[in-house]
């Protein structure tokens, strides 16, 4: 089963890279950019019998390794079409 995990910085946590991107966009002439936040996307292909089992397993992966929950949120999307 394929899944993507989106990891983003929690609101309230300073995102210096997002700020730098925002500044660069302004310098390139893109106006009206109010905020930029960056994060990471992890694609997984795992063995799981049901979507529920997959989600449970990936949640554990996020808690143990993929995300640092002190500063990051994670969002799991299962790709059920494939």
């Amino acid at each position: 089963m394929k899944a993507t995990v989106k990891i983003t910085l929690k609101y309230g946590v300073l995102d210096p890279q997002g700020k730098a991107i925002e500044k660069s966009l302004g310098q390139l002439g893109f106006s009206g950019v109010n905020e930029v936040r960056q994060g990471k996307l992890i694609e997984l292909d795992i063995d799981a019998d049901t979507p529920e089992a997959a989600e449970k397993q990936i949640t554990e992966m996020c808690e143990k390794l993929l995300a640092n929950t002190v500063i990051e949120n994670y969002d799991i999307q299962l790709n059920l079409a494939e």
Binding site: V13, L14, P16, Q17, A20, N68, V70, I71
Partner: protein
């Protein structure tokens, strides 16, 4: 006193710190590969600086889950002193022995220079040879040294005297909350710090302010 240095793939300050430990203890430290699951008896365990696992995912996150770290956490819980320097500090936060996280430096630049540090707590086994409030010079070299924790954790750390080292207020190199350069756990026996004491432990290296951390450990633990 017997020291052990954990060596991760990508550690690059392991041999420097081993030289300092040997000078202080008179004994060669055990160099323990991260893939081992046995840790020889040690009075102090050092997690050295470097770029374990290439800093992949998050600094220290892979190392925190390597086999030897289970042993390190168990020994720390039983009272063995643990010192994490730079990447070692990042590993200590990732494995949960210390709270908070080391984020990317606020100005996005790698910083490599001397910093002025205040010793805020000289009652730990690591800082006994420094005066309370003493200012020392120890270099930093990192891209992710910007200490962050929620307000509750920060209040707890400062209330319990667990901010052991802080940057002089006008010399914060990375944007760290409360100018934090080093913190300890509730027992005081697990210390994580971004500055590199092993890089300033001989006059030939510009000063000896870092040396007392190692000689102090020997006094405290022997």
């Amino acid at each position: 006193m017997q020291a052990s240095v954990i060596v991760f793939p990508g550690s690059n300050c392991d041999r420097d710190v081993a030289v300092c430990l040997e000078a202080a203890t008179g004994k060669k430290p055990n160099m323990v590969w991260h893939g081992n699951s046995d840790l020889p008896d040690s009075d102090v365990i050092v997690l050295p600086g470097g770029f374990s696992y290439g800093d992949y995912l998050r600094c220290g996150s892979m190392a925190a889950n390597s086999p030897i770290m289970k042993e390190v956490v168990l020994k720390a819980q039983k009272g063995t002193a643990v010192l994490g320097i730079c990447n070692g500090f990042q590993v200590l936060t990732e494995c949960g022995l210390l709270p908070g996280v080391l984020m990317q430096n606020a100005d996005l630049n790698f910083v490599c220079r001397n910093t002025r540090l205040i010793v805020d707590n000289n009652t730990t086994p690591f800082t006994g040879l420094y005066q309370q409030g003493e200012e020392v010079v120890i270099p930093v070299a990192h891209n992710e040294g910007n200490y962050f924790a929620d307000d509750e954790t920060l209040d707890e750390l400062s209330g319990e005297g667990r901010i052991v080292l802080s940057y002089a207020p006008e010399d914060n190199p990375n944007g760290a909350c409360k100018n934090i350069a080093g913190i300890c756990d509730a027992s005081g026996r697990v210390l994580g710090m971004m500055p590199h004491p092993e890089r300033r432990a001989e006059t030939a290296l510009g000063g000896e302010d870092g040396k007392r951390m190692f000689t102090g450990l020997v006094e405290a633990l022997s």
